[in-house]
């Protein structure tokens, strides 16, 4: 067979050649634009050509610092189709992390949205590799900025050649894009996506048994384009000639609902927070969302109430997609097998709320010390992954050895498997407590504690123990009015009804508050640090 390499270069060409009149609906800072693929193709070629004129070479990293819109989409294709690498910088990183990732990736050129200029201006002096800035504004006028040398994107395109060719002789393993993922501690870790990986992931997204992205779809990635390739939707959509709706900067649930209604969106994807917001919006106002054939939720697990509301009240299939920055991302989805179609609504929602079934092309195992765990929905193990769109390392990072072992990615996610082979993530390895060689789920104990009428919040952490290596320690905030009325022993007795005795925390501390991260998650690291001497002192 021909050794034709699997490259992104052919994707935009297919859209130009066979779907020139299909279009991208792009919301920018100044309004909604409809741009046919014929035009997107020419602009992408212009961008590629102009970038090379200011020094983009094969293998160079080009950073984007932008929302979801057509210019970002053009960068998605212009850069890799000429053998360079698009680094999609997460606009929500702290300044310190921003400086780190841009310098660590060695971005040569940075393409920036108008409203994000101040962020880059603030750190400009500490960026050691960036040589050019391109401002993705809606007209040719250059906004006021201290960045230099700087170009207006639309003016910049005029320097380019609209017939500039894409490269077809690249190595399919060549890098095409990269993202950084937050680490538990330390700087973000870089993940590099190859042409081959993104090509195969795009093909997987088109599988009828996966998301089934197709030409007749109107696809709206709400998930940011700086977040794991917007889950790969932009790549697949362009390849298949799918209409794309890109919701632009600073959108609201109201805007999302309006775009779905107005543009007759058929498939959309985003984190649960988005769908919780949209649900509220649907309760407040009437929208016709009947065009939707699928909502894909990912990033964290979706509350059952949300799934139920979409499925039952609005009749919109709502599935979970599972993946990580390291996995391009989609490796499992919670769609139903054919013989589950006669499930009751409760069973449907139960299945939809799981992490899901692995997609064709990826191998997934949940393992403990004895090998793959039984399919009993109870035995926990670590979820590991292998396949052609799974990273095999972090970019120039020693932490590679922690996650990549024996050809598998160790996800750090703790899961159970049901008898149908559906996986459900229950924990992160770092939230598990290993006591005497056995695992205890801190999250399960927390949930149990928080179901007690007296408990406002509870965090369970591992503390070192001379005999058991680790033991669980519970930190509990009581509801107002319950102080002094509830004792540690009461709560331990409460837990004893639900867990094996060795799961019960030996100690239970009443605290005034649980330290939290900026997004409201328990900052267990701080608690662990604070209480690491607890057992040695006790």
């Amino acid at each position: 067979m021909m050794k034709t390499p699997l490259l992104l270069s052919s994707f935009m060409e297919r859209a130009e050649k066979y779907f020139p009149n299909k279009y991208v609906i792009s919301r920018t800072h100044t309004g909604i634009k409809r741009i046919p693929y014929s035009e997107i193709g020419k602009r992408t070629r212009r961008l590629a050509s102009a970038l090379e004129k200011i020094g983009m070479n094969k293998g160079d990293k080009i950073g984007s610092f932008a929302w979801n819109h057509h210019r970002h989409l053009e960068a998605y294709f212009a850069v890799p189709s000429r053998g360079a690498i698009l680094h999609m910088v997460n606009i929500r990183l702290s300044e310190e992390h921003l400086i780190y990732v841009i310098n660590h990736a060695e971005d040569k050129i940075l393409m920036i949205d108008v409203d994000l200029i101040p962020t880059i201006e603030n750190i400009r002096d500490r960026l050691t590799t960036v040589q050019h800035f391109i401002i993705m504004s809606d007209d040719k006028t250059l906004p006021n900025t201290t960045l230099s040398p700087v170009y207006s994107y639309e003016q910049f395109l005029e320097e380019g050649d609209e017939q500039y060719p894409f490269l077809h002789d690249l190595d399919e393993y060549a890098p095409a894009a990269m993202c950084y993922t937050s680490a538990t501690t330390g700087y973000p870790k870089g993940v590099v996506y190859s042409h081959r990986g993104l090509y195969l992931h795009s093909m997987a997204l088109g599988l009828a048994d996966n998301l089934g992205i197709k030409e007749s779809d109107i696809a709206m990635p709400v998930v940011p384009m700086f977040h794991v390739n917007a889950w790969g939707l932009p790549f697949a959509a362009v390849w298949f000639g799918t209409t794309l709706v890109l919701p632009g900067p600073s959108f609201t649930p109201k805007l999302i609902a309006e775009l779905i209604e107005q543009e007759k969106v058929t498939i959309t994807a985003g984190v649960p927070t988005i769908w919780i917001g949209v649900l509220k919006e649907l309760e407040a106002r009437d929208y016709d969302l009947s065009s939707l054939r699928l909502i894909v939720s990912g990033g964290s697990s979706s509350p059952k109430g949300v799934i139920k509301a979409f499925e039952e009240k609005y009749g919109i299939p709502f599935i979970s997609g599972y993946g990580m920055t390291e996995t391009t991302p989609i490796v499992a989805i919670s769609s139903l097998k054919s013989y589950m179609m006669d499930y009751s609504l409760e069973e449907v929602i139960e299945t939809r709320s799981k992490t899901g079934l692995v997609v064709p092309g990826i191998e997934l195992k949940v393992i403990n010390d004895h090998g793959e765990v039984p399919r009993d929905s109870k035995t926990i193990g670590e979820l590991i992954l292998r396949g052609p769109w799974i990273a095999d390392q972090y970019y120039k990072d020693d932490r590679t050895t922690d996650a990549f072992k024996d050809g598998w990615l160790y996800t750090g996610d703790i899961a159970v498997v049901d008898q149908e082979g559906y996986v459900k993530i229950t924990d992160r390895t770092k939230d598990l407590i290993k006591s005497g060689g056995e695992w205890i789920s801190s999250v399960d104990i927390e949930n149990a504690l928080m179901s007690h009428e007296a408990v406002f919040e509870a965090a369970v952490i591992a503390v070192p123990h001379p005999k058991w290596q680790e033991r669980p320690l519970a930190c509990v905030v009581l509801k107002q009015g319950y102080e002094q009325k509830v004792k540690a022993e009461d709560l331990k007795n409460f837990l004893k009804n639900q867990f094996a005795s060795w799961w019960i925390p030996d100690d239970l501390l009443f605290v005034d508050e649980i330290p939290k991260t900026s997004v409201g998650k328990f900052l267990k690291r701080a608690l662990r640090e604070q209480l690491k001497e607890h057992y040695s002192n006790s």
Copy 2:
């Protein structure tokens, strides 16, 4: 990204692991069997293990000579999943061609259906490489045969290990399967399919914009499994956990209609002859075929009347798939773009009757001396193809240079392109006759006729036929002195010793001369024009 090779080895494993209770419905010589994938998986592993015990090594060719049934399916996976190569021998070849392909491929082991034993017995003495024969009968009893050493398939499986592992460390470019395709002149040409090619082709078949094969489908390949991998359906179906219906030996249109109705088949594929037969059956008897979501017709173009009858009268989408033995096969399908949904029925049928739109992953061009032809539905050019599931050579064959040039496959098909990019094949560069989806070489029959002592010249042309699409018609000029002494029947008997019966021209006309080109070549186009009414008048 991980360099995980793209191998067929993972396909059966996925079916075993996630769809053990889905099944294969297999019609054999003795009836219909339903075998769950859990069982198919074990049997496949047994077969792989037992084949190695009698000498199958990596790179060996194992021939199959069989209809569509579960044992053939097991061979589809057992052989390549251990690094050997399944050669699917076309059971309709003439004895001379059979001997050629089996010897040329160097088949080491031959797996044969019970009713096909005599064909192999007849040529056994001339097979130079085959060391073992396995008879795919329904029970362990070995039928009477002169073949030796010979095994009964079911007995043979008992020698194998049902937990035998498949290989995951093969090179993805390693050969997995092979088929031979009829040549214009001379012996059939071998095409070798790599793991990578079959893997990507399977993925392509699952694309929602292609055939969209999925787990909930009940797929029935009527196209033979010895004919370009049954268009790849068995590979894709097993990977996706799709229910497979394999219609077995010597089926009739009645049987096909019954299977669709009884098994609630959702997608089926075969040559136009099959669908013409099924249409007649539908006119004669009532069947409920409402489960069908798609009929895929390929091998030659479908008469518009057939498309119209299925689409309009029975409401079943009927599309053309285009490909060749060299292309695994599917490279284009005549499905509609989303904005064609408001086409009139006439326009729909017009589009459906075209060769179609190239599928994602393949590059297609129609070229003449000036490059790609304009999209005017008029200008003809040769259709050329490039992509990861296109062959790059014929197996050990000098004719490679005729078809494979500059990294493209020159198909020999002449086509036009419409403004939407849909291709329509109008002609062939060579003079093959396509009868019931199978090719007949006019040149081979001509050469045979001209070797008869009474024949001066002979030209064989294709004439339209209501059932078989095309049938060969021979025009013969007798040598002086033989007029009136030799009858058509004599020459047909003469041919019967050399060709399969369906190759023999139904009619043989004695003419005074064959029209010729200036360089003395037969002007077959003129003959075809002159005789195109032959069958409709006869």
